[in-house]
Amino acid sequence: MRFLFKTSYAQELGLFRDNVQRNWYVALFAALLVLPRVVPDYVGDISLVFIYGLCGLSLMVLAGYTGLISLGHAAFLGIGAYAHVFFAHDLQLPWIVSVALACVITAAAGVLVGLPALRMTGVYLTIATLAFALIIQEIFSRWDRVTGGLKGKPVDKPVLFGFSFASELAFYFLCLALLIGALWLTANLLRAPTGRAWVAIRDSEIAAQSMGVNVAVYKTMAFAYSAALMGVAGALFAHKISFLAPDIFSVLLSIQLLLMVVVGGLGSLHGALYGAVFVAILPVLISQARDAVPAWHGLDRFVKQPGLEPGLFGLILVLFILFEPLGIYGRWMKVKLYFAMFPLYKRATFKRQKAYMRSERLR
């Protein structure tokens, strides 16, 4: 086991724990740069993982760090996508301006949802966001002039500073750059007072208040920031799927996004990315598992029913909450600790403790 000898406070303010960790991230970045050469057939899928990563980051800020569970994030993704396509195609604005405007609009939508959400907690907030998502989906299908209604709307490839990102490879690097940028900004926020205020609100609203945190302002801020990230993801998502239709941004997508952060591990940026990889691979695994089911008493026809997939998502969500509430990231930490402590690993290290006397909480 390695111990870190700290000699200055500034050491803890860095983005990375130490040089070893930084070198691993540099290695990962280098691997991502050469990855398209290694697996050229999967470049498109990997860019989707990056877009999912942005979505995961967005929901992680809200659900994982501020403790506000949203089931309406597909709506923010949709608002970002439609707004971007409207600005970039209908109004012919430059790509960057269009994405920035889409960001501003989704952030405004986030504030709009955040304001009534200040009076709601827990499951009621989740229900409110779910209702919001359904209303927005309805607007997508009715507001023909902007969204193209149920007929849908085709999306061109992004063009930046006269350079076309039409090829899968160029789009891959665009997504990667935006994901890294978003990760950097989010990590900055999380190591600054704003991030601490969010975590404080998650763990005890009343204590946060008594420490001088304006709960209303910080909750709204979390909603706006989360929605803005979703706006960027939405713009990229629109290019990725190249055709927008209202039924894409369904509740099922919202559940998939939530699945991402829960499976990845709430409360860590790593978790958002692990979740993104998981959610991107899952449909592939499901379809392969389906093909492998033998034709026994019509079982193969049963598993090919279309409604089975959402059910499976729900099942995975429940199983993770029951058996690994810390998600893939939590499991990874356990495995790491197991080897670091070998042979002295104690299972009880990660045992969940009951909170002391929480019954008399004020809110």
């Binding site: 900004l185 926020l189 190591r191 404080a200 208040q209 420490m211």
Partner: protein, 245 residues
């Protein structure tokens, strides 16, 4: 000099009168304890001072300014910090994180000014950690700490806002005899070394007599006695309130 003054403070929850016109003052530099049987309205006073509840009637002033209608998050900036009876800590933060306090774009880019401010906060937090001997727990998660330590951590969290007035809600509840004795030392140190005025609610009379300069006794939302710990303990109304007539 009067630091905090409550004037005829009253609050009703529906038909129940929790406080029926309580007046008291906290002088700068003293330790004032509020005692009283269960349901006397002790914690309600704290919740009124930290502005979680709105009083039905009455006035609160701090450092000569009216704080009766100030929003709860403003209270910390004015110099009042509190602890909670049932410990309200940020469970998944390390001791260190809990302690640091709070411009959005600057933070987003983590500009040098944010870094400097963070280092400054960190210095202030380390002083509190040193003061309360919390060094061994600096990097541990709150969930993994024993109850007695959490109690001290909660006090440390309150001290990190660098208050003028510290409200302690039952600092000894759930603590062993030794931990309670230690708590008495902390409270004395906070008063004498840091010069922070303390207002506390407490049941443990040994702790009350050890640290407090004055005691206010409450029963059914009214002040029944006030004075030195010894006088209040011997007051016939107080004896009656605790033991029945």
């Amino acid at each position: 000099m009067t630091l905090l003054e409550a004037d005829n403070l009253a609050i009703n929850f529906g038909g129940i009168t929790a406080l029926a016109g309580v007046s008291f003052e906290v002088r700068a530099g003293e330790v004032l304890t509020i005692i009283g049987p269960n349901g006397a309205g002790k914690t309600t006073i704290f919740n009124l001072v930290s502005r979680i509840y709105d009083p039905t009637r009455g006035r609160l002033s701090f450092c000569g300014e009216d704080i009766t209608r100030v929003p709860p998050h403003e209270i910390a900036r004015r110099g009042i910090a509190r602890t909670f009876q049932n410990i309200e800590l940020f469970e998944h933060a390390t001791v260190l994180h809990t302690h640091k306090r709070s411009r959005f774009v600057e933070e987003l880019l983590f500009l040098p000014r944010v870094r400097a401010l963070e280092l400054e906060h960190r210095g202030a937090v380390e002083k509190v950690i040193d003061f309360l001997d919390l060094q061994p727990y600096r990097d541990s998660l709150i969930v993994n700490l024993p109850y007695g330590v959490r109690k001290v951590v909660e006090m440390a969290r309150a001290l990190c806002t660098q208050p003028k007035l510290l409200l302690l809600d039952e600092p000894s509840s759930g603590l062993s005899v030794e931990e309670t004795e230690e708590m008495a030392f902390w409270i004395q140190d906070i008063r004498t070394l840091l010069g922070i005025t303390v207002l506390m609610v407490e049941h443990d009379m040994s702790l009350v007599s050890a640290v407090s300069d004055r005691v206010v006794a409450l029963n059914y939302g009214l002040v029944i006695a006030a004075g030195t710990p010894r006088d209040v303990q011997a007051h016939p109304d107080v004896v009656k309130a605790y033991l029945g007539s």
